[in-house]
Symmetry: C2
Subunit: 360 residues, 2 copies
């Protein structure tokens, strides 16, 4: 820290008059980004909505994400993911999580080469999830797992999951065989999403290529950075292709504090005016972000980032998850209770927005 | 807007008790992201540091960026870029810009296939810039243009530009022939940067590949999104490769509100613990961001984004530019005078941090 301190000291020596920063003032704000340890002020309840599980049949798919994290971590996480009972509920109880919307940990059948097998296994995963929801109806909701290789079947299965199995929406793990959700072949799927009025959680996945910028940097591949790049790009594709003009009622959820979107809105609206457009949007990009995109705080327990999200996208668009078990429930839960936001904002994020969006 | 309004209305109907949001409360914060029209409170002065120029010999290189913007815009911008005199100074005067650090608009010689020609042309560009600085010493500073194909020569030319031509640092436009600045062949360059104690402005450039996520989306290629992805990745490569451990005095500047970095710090520090590391960093990633990386507000005139940057990276790391003539000077200048920040923060951003960093 010595260099920064030297810098701050020289800043202080420059101070002349009341409008000039002192070293103390300079450093005060920076510390705000560190989670506070204020007295906790519990929200009325907490709904968490990026809470993963695993089934034995899907571990081979999950292994595709091994490249993104330390091997030891991968091995430790599978048993925790696979527990729907005492272990999971104990962690929820201990940390005041009232309700968890569960989702199969990706990429799941989206990387299954056999389309029929993918469709079959997705149905199986959803039936198993529905059982667990049925066993703990006051604690567990669910996002459908879908074989996006087959848009028509994905739409049909989503309908079954929502209408019959009482799920809250779907989770999709990035592109499928190189196809993003703005491809017109997915119109049939978006039509159903709009009709059912449920959100689609767009979870990160690895793209089919390995862009040059990540060469020789395995640490940047996965949750550190490439997943945000890929998922934010996916969301932008939906905006810029006019998917939300065709399906104005469609809603997606982005995790990880919106995969950097909240800090980008002004620039998107400004630069799109100079860009080479293939499709002329009806509205500015930020319009769709605020209307069709909801974000969660998963893996970002940071006041400065949350403030940016609340102020740019709007407090009605931000929701709380843990990203269990990849993120620590105690850290996430303690943070949402103590973050520097108003009580109204805290309740909106902790449960109210999720409750409205998913009719819980 | 009708869907959002419906949503807000249903939010209001849910309101029970004092801790629950009403529609009015929900929408109030979202509007904060729109630039305010408050009474202006002028900072003591304004230094702008991403202000571009063009010379006839470099227009063919600039044309590489044609793919990123509308052709009409490209043609209109070249004459404006090429003016060092009345036109440029008039815009500065009219908008209260006291001092501009000029830089050749990229990618310049970094895409010149002939290394010797690149070295020669870079020297020529710097000599021309030095002339313009000499003609208006109280209005213009300069960032050196460097042939990064030749790290040793780039270091030598940087030294000439700083010591003899009195420039404030260098501007580098992304990778060169696929090589990023964390390549060990650039150690000789970073050694010189550290010795001279000048910043390197890491400006966006197009990467050598075209990642799959941008396929069929020309509007995402360039300032809308791919440049942020590429430049933020470049900065992360410098962090994760240990460049700042080897050269703790090296400083880089990122434009465009830090190319999304401010919203990422918590996640970087958290996820790096689970990542496959090639190099074990001495400190957490955010340490290097706060110590070795400075950011500018170019092209992001947004209070919510600025607040996030000030709170996460620190008010001593944020500086003001216009990104002339690609961004509008009146919008940027009006914004920095009226943004919702303290007077101390406004002065720090508008001139004081730049003054300290570049010894102006």
């Amino acid at each position: 820290m010595s260099n920064r301190k030297h810098f701050l000291r020289s800043a202080a020596t420059l101070a002349v008059g009341s409008s000039i920063l002192t070293a103390g003032q300079l450093s005060a704000r920076a510390d705000d980004s560190v989670p506070h340890s204020k007295p906790e002020s519990a929200p009325k309840k907490i709904i968490a909505l990026e809470e993963h599980f695993m089934l034995p049949e899907f571990v081979t798919y999950l292994a595709e994400t091994k490249q993104n994290i330390k091997p030891a971590l991968f091995n430790n996480v599978v048993p925790v993911l696979s527990d729907f009972g005492a272990g999971r509920l104990e962690v929820m109880d201990k940390n005041g999580i009232d309700f968890a919307v569960l989702s199969l940990s990706g990429p799941g059948v989206q990387i299954e080469p056999d389309r029929e097998q993918a469709v079959k296994l997705a149905r199986y995963a959803n039936d198993r999830l529905a059982e667990e929801m049925h066993n703990n109806p006051h604690r567990y909701g669910g996002f459908a797992h879908l074989a996006m290789q087959d848009p028509r079947e994905a739409a049909r299965e989503l309908e079954r999951c929502v209408r019959q199995l009482k799920m809250q929406g779907a989770m999709i793990n990035g592109e499928t065989n190189g196809l993003y959700l703005d491809d017109r072949r997915y119109d049939i799927f978006w039509e159903k999403v709009q009709e059912l009025d449920v959100p689609v959680y767009l979870h990160p996945g690895n793209p089919p290529d390995h862009p040059h910028m990540f060469t020789d940097h395995p640490e940047m591949w996965g949750p550190v950075w490439s997943w945000a790049v890929e998922t934010c790009s996916h969301a932008m594709r939906l905006i810029f292709s006019g998917t939300f003009d065709r399906f104005p009622g469609a809603k997606i959820i982005l995790g990880h504090m919106g995969e950097t979107l909240p800090i980008q809105l002004w620039r998107l609206d400004s630069r799109i005016q100079t860009a080479n457009l293939k499709y002329a949007l009806k509205e500015v990009p930020s319009y769709y972000v605020r209307k069709n995109i909801f974000i969660t705080t998963s893996g970002v327990c940071c006041d400065a980032a949350l403030r940016c999200a609340l102020d740019s996208i709007g407090p009605e668009n931000v929701m709380f998850p843990v990203d269990y078990p990849f993120e620590k429930t105690d850290i996430a839960s303690r943070w949402i209770r103590s973050a520097s936001v108003s009580e109204a904002e805290r309740n909106a994020v902790a449960w109210q927005n999720a409750s409205l969006l998913m009719k819980l």
